[in-house]
């Protein structure tokens, strides 16, 4: 699964973009993806919030992930 990382999420995984192989646990939904990330990188559990964007829009937990989606990991925003 091809993922984009920003802000502190980039620091946690060490890259701004990576293809992540979840093996058997390959996540089907946004909720699954959050779970899988927190399992692999416990630092994600310590953030104030964690959101997922699918094709550059915020995606709710029940959104299903397709192989050609652009999926981004959105830690707490702090613009302005």
């Amino acid at each position: 699964m091809d993922l984009l990382f920003f802000g502190i999420a980039k620091d946690i995984v060490g890259k701004s973009q990576m293809i992540m192989d979840f093996g058997e646990d390959s996540p089907n939904s946004v909720a699954d993806l959050k779970q899988a990330l927190k399992k692999r990188y416990p630092e994600f559990s310590k953030l104030t919030s964690l959101a997922i964007a699918v094709n550059s829009e915020y995606a709710k937990d029940d959104v299903q992930l397709k192989s050609n989606d652009e999926v981004a990991i959105i830690p707490p925003v702090s613009g302005g």
């Binding site: 550059s56 829009e57 830690p75 702090s78 613009g79 302005g80």
Partner: protein, 138 residues
């Protein structure tokens, strides 16, 4: 065009009045966010902003539409800077113009409050001996 949405390296604060000016507008309210020298008594050397640009532009556009729907506005401006910003640099400009002043004030406040909650832009505070992603942790 009743909305101007931009993510830029350097913000130009000079042109914003002209961009919001409109023959049907009697009131123009602008908010500029800038880099403060101290946060909780710690001296800030600089701020570093990064963004997920395609998504940020979409969210800013959606934000402008929400304001245009909520109030009768003639023009809306939303601009954010990215990259390294030093003390007193402008980092964000939002503004609205309307027939009467109340709408422009309310819309301007809504724009900055909502931008801070929803637009995917991240700010790192650079202090002398450390750096911190703002709001990342509780």
């Amino acid at each position: 065009m009743n909305k101007i949405i931009e993510i830029v390296q350097e913000l130009d604060t000079h042109s914003v009045y002209q961009e919001l000016s409109h023959p049907n507008s009697g009131g123009i309210c602008v908010f500029v966010g800038s880099v403060r020298e101290f946060t909780n008594n710690e001296q800030v050397v600089a701020l570093e902003f990064e963004t997920y640009e395609s998504m940020a532009l979409k969210e800013m556009d959606r934000l402008a539409d929400a304001a245009l729907e909520k109030w009768k506005l003639n023009k809306v401006v939303i601009k954010h800077a990215v990259g390294r910003k030093e003390v007193q640099d402008a980092v964000v400009i939002v503004g609205a113009s309307s027939a009467h002043r109340s709408e422009s004030f309310e819309a301007c406040r809504f724009l900055i409050d909502t931008l801070k909650r929803t637009v995917p832009i991240w700010k790192k505070e650079m202090f002398k001996n450390k750096s911190v992603w703002v709001s990342a942790h509780p």
